[in-house]
Point group: C2
Chain length 470, copies 2
C-alpha cells in the first residue's frame, strides 16, 4: 500500500497537522508506535499512518475515506487495555482520539456531561468535581485511559459493587460507523423507547462496530465522606462471608476488593509501602463505605464488631485520614503496576456467579497447582462483583515464549472450568486479540454468528478494528 | 391458510392441550380475541390459532415450525401495552406466555430471581418479598402485565427516578429468535465483557427480534419506610423547582410525579376518592421518599419547609398511614383507569431533557390550545424522568373516527416540537403499530436502516411480530 498517498489524501481531507506518517520527522518512532498498541505487550505494533482528528466530522471524513479505499482502521484511546484491542499490527490507519478532549456541554439540572471521547478519565472526574458532581467509574488506569475507550470496553473498576459498570452511566453516544456515517444516539434523555437500543451495542464492542467520538455521561453527587478498611483474613471462604455480612447493614458499600499475600508482598517490594499489620496473613480485604452521619459511623463499627465476633478476620484497621486511605488503596491498586515493573505476567480476568465462587476456587486451585507447578500466581480483584484477576507470573528460568506457550495450554482447561460454573472468561478486560480464540467458552455459536451479522450491518467492509473480538 | 392443519401440526409438536383454534369449543371467542390485542383498542384482533407453551422448548418448537412454514407470530404477554405492540390482526399465530409463570431459580447470595417470562409482575413482587427482597419496577398495570412483556417493552413506571428502567434490573435473558434458535444470555453474572451485549437489543424490541421466555432479574433490599407527600402547585415552573430542591438534600427520592387539576377531577369522579385539599389547585405533585431514621425524617421536614418558604407550593400534606399513602397514589395511578372508563382518549407518552422542559411546555401549550380547541387534555406523568403522559380526551360531539383523524393531524406537529427540543416521541410505551409512522422523529434514517439489518439477523424471514416498530 502507498502510505505516502494515504497521508497526502488524509491531509487534504482533515488538515496536514492532523496526519503523521511513520518517520516523517514529526514524531519520535517509539512514541509513534505507542499509539498502535496497548498494555498487553504481546503484539508488536506495525503501522504507517496515524491521525489526530479534532472532532466527529474529522473522524467521519477519515472513516469515509478508509471505507472507499478499503483500508483498515484501529481506534486508539488511552491504550491501557489488557486484551490487545487497540493494537495496529497489520498496517492499519490508527485514529487517535487524544486531541478530542473537550467538554461539549453540561446540564446542571440533572448533572450530565457531554464530552469528546478522547478526554482522559481522570480529567472527566475533575470536570465533574468542579461542577459539584461526581463520576464514579474509577480504576488504576484512569490517569491515562480515555472515556471513549472506557465506553468501548465497558470499563468496570473498583466501585462497580456500588455504582455499576460504565454502561450504567452512558446516556448518549456519538458514533461513526464503518461506512463513515454518524449516529447520535439518545442525547441526554432518560427514557426513550423508540426501537432497538443501538447505544448498548457499542458499549463494550471494542471499536469493531464504530468509533465513539462523543458521549453524554450521567453524573451523581459525591459521597460525603468515606471510610476505608483493610482486613487480614485467613481463608477465602471468610471473604465471601464478610461480603455477605456487609449486606445486613444499611450502609453503602462502595468497594469490596481482595488480594493474596503474594500480591501484597509485590506491592511492598516495588512501591515501598509499609506493612498493614504486624503479622502476615494469607488474604486481605479492602472495604470502602460511604459514611454520611454519626448513625452511619455506628453502623460501620457494628459491621466490624460483627465480623470480628464471628472470627472472620484475624486483624483489621480503619484508615484514619486521607493519606492512610491512599495507602490502603495502594495495596490493591498497586498490584498490576508492581507486577508489570518486574515480571512477565499472563493475565486472566474472569467472573463467576458469587454463589459458585467457593466451589470454583477449590477446583481452580487444584487445576492451577497441578498445571503451573512452582509458578507464582497473583490473585486479586473485585470479589464483590464475582470478578477475579488471576495473574500467572513467569518463572525466571523460562523464556517468554516458553511461558506463554504453557499458559496457552492451561487457559482452555481453566475456561472449561469457568464454563462449568457459568462464569465469564473476560469480566472487564474484553476480548480483543488475546481472548478471541476462546470467545466460544462464554458465547454460543449462534450468538457468535449473530454478532458477525451485526458487525456486517455496521461495518460492511470489515474495516473497523479487524481481527478483534470476532 | 389452513389453520386446522396449523393447529393439528402444533398439537403434535407441543401437545393438544396447549393449542387452541378460534371457535374450536374450548375457549370463549371474546377471551380468545383478548389474547391477540392490547389496551390501545385501535386495532381489532383477527387471528385463528393461539398457543400456550409451558417452557422455552415449547416456544422454540412453535417458532421453528412457523419459520419452516413462513407463518407470522405475535408474542402475547399481559396485553397492557398502549402502542399496539401485541396485536394480532393478520392471522398470525399468537403465542401466549401466560402458562410460563414459574420461578426457575433463586440466588439468596446476591438476590437474583430466575423466572419464566409469563410471570405477572405483581407476582414477581411477591416472590421477591417472600424471600426478603424487593423488585422495584412498578406501575399501575403490574397486576396484569408479565415480566417478559415488561422487558420486551423496557417498562418504566413510577419509581424510575430512583431505581431506573427495567433494563437496569435484567441480568440474564433466555430468548428464542426468529429461526427458533434459543439464546441464553449472560445467566446471573454481573460482569461479562465478551463481545456485543445482545441482551440489551432484546430489551425494548417489542417482540420483533425474539421471544423472551425466561429472565434473571436482580432484586434489591426493600426501602425500610416510605413517606408519601402530596402537594398543590400553582405553576408548572414550580414543579421543576421543587424537583431541583429535593436534590439538595441527601434523602432518597423514590418517585416524583405530577398531574393537572383535570386529571384529579376525573379520578375523584370515577374512583370516589376525597379531595386532597380544601382549595383546588392547577397542578399537583406526588413525592415519595425513603426514610430510614430520625435524621431522614428531619431532612424530610427541611425539604418541605424549604419549598414552603420559597412559595413553590400552595398546600401540602404528608400521608399519615399506609391507607393515606394509597389514597395519594390513587390520585396519580388512577388517572389512566378513570379516563378509559368514561372516555375515548388519544395517548402520547413523550420525554424531554429536563432542562428543555419549561420551554417545551410553553410551546406545546400554545400548539395544543390552537389545534385542539375546546378539547380536554389530561397531562400527568413521571416529571422527574422528563416523561409526560399527554392524553387528548375526545369531545362528546365527535365520532371516534373524526377524533382520531384530527389527532393524527396534530401528532406530527407535536413530534416536530419534541424533535426540536431533543426529546423522544415514546418515553416508555414503545412504538408498536401506533407510533411506527413517526419513528423518524426520534431515530435517524441510518439508525432505522441499521435496525432493519439487525432485525434481519435475528429474524431472517420476518415472522416475529411483523409490522411492529419498523
Amino acid at each position: 500500500m502507498d502510505f505516502t498517498k494515504t497521508k497526502a489524501d488524509l491531509s487534504q481531507l482533515i488538515g496536514e497537522k492532523k496526519v503523521i506518517q511513520k518517520n516523517d520527522g514529526t514524531m519520535d518512532e517509539a512514541l509513534f508506535n505507542s499509539y498502535g498498541t496497548d498494555r498487553t505487550k504481546v503484539y508488536p505494533p506495525n503501522y504507517q499512518v496515524l491521525v489526530f482528528p479534532e472532532n466527529t466530522e474529522d473522524v467521519a471524513a477519515v472513516v469515509s475515506y478508509a471505507y472507499k479505499n478499503e483500508i483498515a482502521i484501529v481506534p486508539s484511546g488511552g491504550r491501557t487495555g489488557y486484551a490487545g484491542g487497540a493494537v495496529a499490527k497489520n498496517g492499519e490507519i490508527v485514529i487517535s482520539l487524544s486531541k478530542m478532549n473537550q467538554v461539549v456541554d453540561f446540564d446542571p439540572f440533572l448533572g450530565t456531561l457531554h464530552v469528546q471521547a478522547g478526554m482522559i478519565t481522570k480529567n472527566l472526574h475533575k470536570e465533574a468535581e468542579e461542577r459539584g458532581f461526581y463520576f464514579p467509574v474509577d480504576f488504576a488506569a484512569t490517569g491515562s485511559s480515555h472515556i471513549g475507550g472506557n465506553i468501548a470496553t465497558n470499563a468496570g473498576g473498583v466501585r462497580v459493587v456500588h455504582y455499576g459498570l460504565i454502561r450504567d452511566w452512558v446516556l448518549g453516544l456519538t458514533v461513526v460507523n464503518g461506512k463513515g456515517e454518524t449516529y447520535r444516539f439518545n442525547g441526554e434523555i432518560l427514557k426513550n423507547n423508540t426501537g432497538y437500543d443501538l447505544k448498548h451495542l457499542f458499549i463494550g464492542s471494542e471499536g469493531t462496530l464504530g468509533i465513539i467520538t462523543e458521549a453524554v455521561v450521567k453524573l451523581t453527587k459525591p459521597p460525603k465522606d468515606i471510610r476505608v478498611i483493610f482486613l487480614a483474613v485467613s481463608e477465602y471462604k471468610n471473604i465471601l462471608e464478610i461480603f455477605r455480612e456487609t449486606h445486613n447493614f444499611d450502609l453503602p458499600l462502595l468497594a469490596f476488593e481482595f488480594l493474596t499475600d503474594y500480591c501484597l508482598d509485590k506491592v511492598k517490594e516495588h512501591l515501598g509501602v509499609p506493612d498493614p499489620f504486624p503479622a502476615p496473613s494469607k488474604y486481605y480485604v479492602l472495604m470502602e463505605f460511604e459514611v454520611n452521619s454519626e448513625t452511619d459511623e455506628e453502623k460501620l463499627y457494628t459491621i466490624i464488631e460483627s465480623i470480628t465476633e464471628k472470627e472472620l478476620i484475624t486483624d483489621g484497621s480503619i484508615a484514619q485520614n486521607s493519606r492512610q486511605n491512599e495507602t490502603f488503596w495502594k495495596y490493591r491498586e498497586g498490584i498490576s503496576e508492581s507486577l508489570s515493573l518486574a515480571y512477565t505476567v499472563h493475565k486472566n480476568d474472569i467472573s463467576l456467579p458469587l454463589r459458585n465462587m467457593e466451589a470454583f476456587l477449590d477446583e481452580m486451585t487444584t487445576l492451577l497447582t497441578k498445571k503451573y507447578q512452582g509458578f507464582h500466581i497473583a490473585l486479586f480483584g473485585h470479589i464483590g462483583d464475582g470478578n477475579l484477576h488471576l495473574n500467572i507470573v513467569k518463572p525466571k528460568d523460562l523464556t517468554d515464549a516458553e511461558f506463554f506457550t504453557q499458559c496457552k495450554q492451561v487457559d482452555p482447561e481453566m475456561f472449561t472450568l469457568i464454563q462449568k460454573f457459568k462464569g465469564s472468561i473476560s469480566a472487564e478486560h474484553g476480548i480483543g486479540l488475546l481472548k478471541k480464540d476462546y470467545l466460544n467458552f462464554s458465547r454460543s455459536q449462534s450468538e457468535i454468528d449473530t454478532m458477525r451479522a451485526i458487525k456486517l450491518a455496521f461495518d460492511p467492509k470489515g474495516i473497523l478494528n479487524p481481527g478483534k473480538v470476532l
